[in-house]
């Protein structure tokens, strides 16, 4: 499963390296939802999976898609679309679960696709704007600029729990 991540990294390694080659670089795993590109710091990404069998979790919030078996660990899967208040989309061949570490917990984030691994200089990250297409700032760490692309860098702390 890590192989997939590596292959993604290999595929994109040549293309999207930021010019600034200092230590101050972060790597992001990016995915696209309805034309907006989001990035998750690669250091919190555990692995990326194809969609396995998901067991529905009754009495849990809607955005909790269910739980999956990750090599003997039972981990919850958050439907990112539902979490961001977007209409849900059908699962396709491209759909993936990005398993991230939030604190001590492992959480799966279900996304429509995994787009790229991006290297980005920290100097190119701005504070989150007030409004990004209706997504609450509680999920945003900052906005990264890469050439003409804008990448919404996600903050994971509130993804699993929250008022919604």
């Amino acid at each position: 499963m890590n192989n997939e991540l590596i292959s993604i990294a290999a595929k994109t390694a040549e293309s999207v390296i930021d010019t600034n080659d200092s230590l101050d670089i972060i790597q992001l795993v990016s995915f696209k939802l309805d034309k907006i590109e989001y990035g998750i710091d690669i250091l919190s990404v555990h692995e990326i999976l194809r969609i396995p069998e998901i067991t529905r979790l009754p009495n849990a919030p809607d955005y909790i898609k269910g739980v999956i078996n990750l090599r003997g660990n039972v981990i919850p899967v958050v439907d990112i679309r539902m979490r961001f208040g977007m209409p849900s989309a059908p699962v396709t061949e491209l759909s993936r679960i990005i398993v991230v570490e939030i604190g001590e917990k492992l959480v799966g984030l279900m996304v429509d696709n995994v787009y790229q691994v991006i290297r980005l200089s920290r100097s190119r990250i701005d504070e989150p704007h007030e409004l990004i297409e209706g997504i609450s700032t509680e999920f945003i760490n900052g906005i990264g600029r890469l050439q003409d692309r804008l990448i919404v860098i996600l903050r994971l702390d509130n993804i699993l729990f929250g008022e919604e």
Binding site: P58, N59, A60, V67, G72, L106
Partner: protein, 1018 residues
């Protein structure tokens, strides 16, 4: 790595760390209460252990420092010095220095500290306060004048490389059957060495003059720790040990007694140290050198090597092994596929063999890791000694705490959290339960109240009890409080029994205490108790008798990791209901459901059972058709029960519990999740929360409505058998469930009678006409008839199946031998061995009973585990089964089973009571049976251990008082996880008049069985 202390460095560091912690804690306390002797003793002990362990690894400077500390403390203990702030300061400085040294060593650096300054300081404070003329202590223990032949034996023994010591065993003054206990200790010691002489002689132990202390001269090669272990028998309250060595003086060889060392002491009183002394000689000046020489010799004997492992690592391992087991089950599918494709037969068979071998290994691994998580509860119990003492002081009550069953092992997870609930229970017991001294005197109770902590295993449950002999629960107060708090109505309360009333005290905020103290009375504690226990899948029950006391019983599943569960479906979704919560599974027709105030109930054998539809609970639609019989799982929690309506019953399965909290959080109604053989996840229902929800609604129903339901006809119930969903390998289990069902049906027939009483009571109050009872009664008798018929049919069916089974088993037997590679000669070998062991056992038994005991020649056979119950024809009679797991290089179980009556007879005989006194199994009776099994079983184990030259040890026996089927079930449950075959040595003991006493069975695990056979061939 740089500096190292050699191979014992890790052990030393670990020990030192513990001792430092203890030192630190105690020093802090010492500052607060300088006169507390306990604290001084603790510090003394820590310093003493540090001294010897430092010397052991060669840190002589450190050892010297600790020695000086010890001297200083000795002075304080002996009251020749007083504690002053300057002494405490110096002790703290010592602590800091020792801490530094330990850190240096653990970092791999040689110790650089110079202690001379500090040692001078210590000497400074000690000489300053020391009173002149050091007192010479007089040895307290009787000096034994050993006869010449014994002295010669000792000399020969020591010269041949054994070590000699004098072990003093002190028994509890109240101990029953002292001679039996002593015999047990002797038998245990014989296993590890030669007992040369006992003082007083064993025959004199039962005489009135016996002072509860036996001194045993022992020649052994075993380490001290081993000696302690074998001597630690129930009701032995203290074990002291003195090494005896030879010294040459004036060309005469004399015996030199070393310092007495207390190995074990039940009550943490001051350790009575005795100085070394020599027989007929002046103290030797060279003592110190000798200790060092001795410790070098001891190096060889240090065997106990332990590693501390974090629970996280174990969990991780367990997880991986679980994965392995699951991954392994994938092979079964592959195997089926191969068979379908009819690949070469030999390959398939080879594949199957390998596959089974692997699955066995995986399961062994799994149970092995699970066992490493088990920790004795003693460490938790002893913590409370202090609490009880302090609380008693605070409330001006006299309380002592008794601890029993501290060796009982519980899952580490339970051990970690059980402290808090126990603390609440103990606080409550001291504050509310126990009366003041004056009150107790008025009630003619002893001044000193007893709070007992007890832990024991029964079946697949571990029980932890907190009991007091105080005033008991005040049911009146509970009633009025419950009504006052609006938890219920006077009408409902009037019909509640004690158990139901008692359960109110677990409600948050419920307190009958008039005054709120800083430790109890707020009504929080009991709620915490219940919640904590629930989290561990356990339950709490209360037994209380006004004026006599209260007993809280916490029960936990044996292992938290794996539980049996009933699997149910709603649509395609699978859910697990822990079997411990399930009372029965039935099927009912939809029109038997009555709806009151939107609440579905049925009349189940004259009792109102609220229903909950699982599909509603999990938020999906049911696929049951309108007129279809609905499967209902009747679950109970405490004394409440409800029925859960499901779409489909899948059967029984062992599941591994995984928490949802680990990566998410607690989900209402779910106790966790489990990963099944195919890798899919099923959710485990939290029955207690479901019941609480439903019961609250049910209690709101008016009494009239309830009566209306009770008056309607009873649901015609079809009892569903639980079949195991597991694949072909588990098929034979089928039979066991069948029998269980019969038993269930039998108990079911008894139920209506009990119901009837309640029924009548209600009618009296309601002043309804009698004819209604008659209807109820006639219906019930009709019902009884149906049940009887069912039972009869089931029995018939079972009998015919049994016959079949026996036929096939007999046919299979040869196959088993072939498979295990056991020849007839091997069996004969085992038989000879069994004969030796069992003859010895019979001899021991007749000694204990003081009369002749005959025995049948053991019948040795290898059986498939599932067929064992059939070997006991009388599986539905009540037996007393004492089973004793054996561990070491051979693992298995010894079962001593007695028919209930012969068991009682045996208890009477051993306790010296007139025949027929015992009619139920008391604690004493249980202890006697355990002891007997220990002696008899150990005899057999020893015979094996000697012959095959392997280390085998019997462990603590447990008593199961139940139907033979259940007794076997509890053993089999323990075994099926690990093996498929058992070596059954079946022998009967008889009284002189040919009445059977009991049967002894030995069941080694399959792998141990092969080991035995192999060893015997050589």
């Amino acid at each position: 790595m740089g500096f190292s202390l050699g191979e014992y460095q890790d052990i030393f560091l670990e020990e030192a760390d513990e001792q430092l912690q203890e030192l630190n804690e105690n020093l802090l306390q010492l500052e607060k209460n300088p006169s507390d002797e306990d604290i001084i003793n603790n510090i003394f002990r820590a310093a003493h252990s540090l001294k010897s362990s430092a010397a052991f690894v060669g840190l002589t400077d450190l050892s010297d420092l600790a020695h000086k500390m010890e001297n200083l403390l000795q002075g304080i203990r002996d009251k020749v010095m007083d504690i002053t702030p300057s002494i405490v300061d110096v002790l703290f400085q010592c602590f800091d220095v020792i801490n530094e040294v330990i850190h240096e060593v653990s970092a791999g650096n040689p110790p650089t500290k110079d202690f001379t300054g500090l040692i001078k300081k210590i000497e400074g404070v000690s000489t300053h306060f020391e009173k002149p003329a050091e007192k010479k202590e007089q040895p307290i223990t009787r000096k034994i004048q050993l006869p010449a032949n014994i002295v010669k034996d000792i000399r020969d023994g020591i010269n041949s490389g054994l070590s000699c010591c004098e072990v003093s065993i002190t028994l509890d003054t109240d101990a029953a059957m002292k001679s039996l206990k002593v015999q047990l200790v002797l038998a245990n010691l014989e296993k590890i060495g030669d007992v040369l002489v006992t003082i007083p002689a064993i025959e004199d132990v039962s005489l009135p003059g016996f002072n509860n202390c036996v001194q045993i001269i022992l020649l052994t090669a075993a380490p001290v720790d081993e000696i302690r272990k074998v001597c630690e028998v129930d009701q032995v309250i203290r074990i002291d040990l003195r090494k005896i060595e030879l010294v040459k003086k004036d060309n005469k060889v004399a015996l030199k007694y070393h310092q007495q060392e207390t190995l074990f002491e039940e009550k943490q009183e001051a350790v009575a140290k005795q100085p070394d002394f020599e027989e007929d000689m002046v103290p030797d000046e060279e003592e110190k050198d000798e200790i060092i020489i001795r410790s070098k010799d001891d190096k060889k004997t240090v065997q106990l090597r332990t590693v501390k492992v974090s629970v996280d690592k174990l969990d991780q391992l367990l997880n991986n092994v679980g994965e392995l087991v699951i991954a392994n089950s994938g092979f079964y599918k592959l195997y089926e596929e191969m068979r379908r494709l009819s690949v070469e037969k030999t390959i398939i068979n080879e594949f199957k063999n390998r596959m089974e071998q692997m699955s066995r290994i995986a399961k062994d691994l799994q149970s092995g890791i699970m066992k490493t998580r088990m920790v004795p509860i003693g460490q938790v119990f002893t913590r409370f000694n202090r609490l009880v003492r302090d609380l008693a002081k605070e409330f001006d009550k006299k309380v002592i705490m008794e601890i029993k069953g501290e060796e009982t092992e519980l899952d580490k997870k339970v051990i970690d959290v059980i402290g808090e609930p126990l603390m609440h229970l103990i606080r409550n017991a001291v504050d509310h339960g126990v009366e003041s001294v004056e009150e107790r005197r008025q009630l003619k109770k002893p001044d000193v109240a007893t709070i007992t902590l007890n832990a024991y295993q029964g079946g697949n449950q571990i029980f932890v009890e907190v009991s007091d002999d105080g005033r008991g629960l005040d049911y009146k107060k509970i009633k009025s409080k419950a009504i006052e708090m609006n938890l219920t109505t006077p009408e409902i309360v009037a019909n509640m029994d004690r158990d139901e009333l008692a359960s109110f005290i677990f409600m948050p905020g419920f307190s009958t205490s008039e005054k709120v103290t800083d430790i109890s009375g707020r009504g929080v504690g009991m709620n915490v108790v219940q919640e904590t226990v629930n989290e561990l899948n356990g339950s709490v029950s209360i037994e209380s008798e006004p004026g006599m006391g209260t007993r809280f019983i916490l029960s936990f599943p044996l292992t938290l990791a794996i539980i049996p569960a009933i699997m149910v479906r709603v649509q395609r979704e699978l859910f697990a209901i822990p079997l411990s919560d399930v009372i029965e599974t039935i099927k009912i027709l939809p029109d038997e459901i009555t709806t009151i105030e939107g609440h579905e109930v049925i009349n189940l054998r004259g009792e109102i059972l609220s229903l909950i539809r699982l599909n509603n609970f999990v938020g999906i639609n049911s696929i049951l058709k309108d007129n279809e019989r609905m499967p209902v799982v009747v679950v109970g929690y405490g004394n409440r029960k409800i029925g859960i309506v499901v779409d489909l019953l899948e059967g029984k399965q062992e599941i591994v519990i995984k928490s949802l909290e680990q990566n998410y959080k607690t989900v209402p109604g779910l106790a966790g999740a489990s990963i099944l053989g195919d890798g899919s996840i099923c959710l485990i229902l939290d029955i207690s929360s479901m019941i609480n929800k439903v019961i609250m609604q049910q209690d709101m129903l008016s009494h009239k409505e309830k009566q209306r339901v009770l008056d309607t006809r009873q649901a015609s119930v079809e009892v569903v058998k639980h079949e195991t969903t597991k694949d072909a390998a588990a098929k034979p289990e089928h039979d066991d469930h069948y029998k269980k069902d019969i038993r269930e049906s039998v108990t079911a027939t008894e139920m209506p009678i009990k119901e009837d009483i309640v029924f009548k009571k209600q009618l009296n109050e309601e002043i309804v006409e009698i004819e209604e009872t008659q209807i109820g009664e006639s219906e019930k008798s009709q019902y009884n008839n149906i049940i009887e018929k069912q039972v009869h049919n089931a029995l018939e069916e079972f009998k015919s199946e049994l016959k079949e089974k026996i036929k096939t088993t007999l046919g299979e037997e040869n196959e088993i031998y072939k498979k295990l590679g056991i020849s007839d000669d091997d069996l004969a070998n085992v038989q000879v061995l069994a004969n030796v062991g069992i003859t010895d056992a019979a001899e021991k038994l007749s000694k204990i009973l003081g009369r002749r005991v005959d025995l049948s020649i053991p019948d040795v056979s290898v059986l498939a585990i599932e067929t064992i119950p059939q070997f006991f024809g009388d599986i539905d009679s009540v037996y007393l089964g004492v089973y004793m797991p054996i561990v070491g290089q051979i693992n298995g179980t010894i079962l001593f089973s007695l028919h209930q009556e012969s068991g009682y007879e045996l208890v009477d005989m051993l306790l010296g009571l007139p025949q027929g006194t015992t009619t139920s199994l008391s604690e004493d009776g249980e202890s006697v049976l355990k002891e007997v099994t220990n002696i008899v079983g150990s005899a057999v184990v020893n015979a094996f251990a000697d012959k095959i030259e392997m280390a085998i040890k019997p462990t603590v026996p447990s008593v199961v008082h139940d139907y033979m089927q259940s007794i076997l079930d509890s053993i089999l449950a323990f075994h099926t996880a690990e093996n498929e075959y058992a070596l059954v040595m079946d022998t009967e003991f008889f009284h002189q008049d040919d009445r059977v006493i009991g049967k002894l069975m030995i069941m080694p695990t399959t792998s141990s069985l092969s080991t035995i056979v192999e060893r015997l061939r050589n």
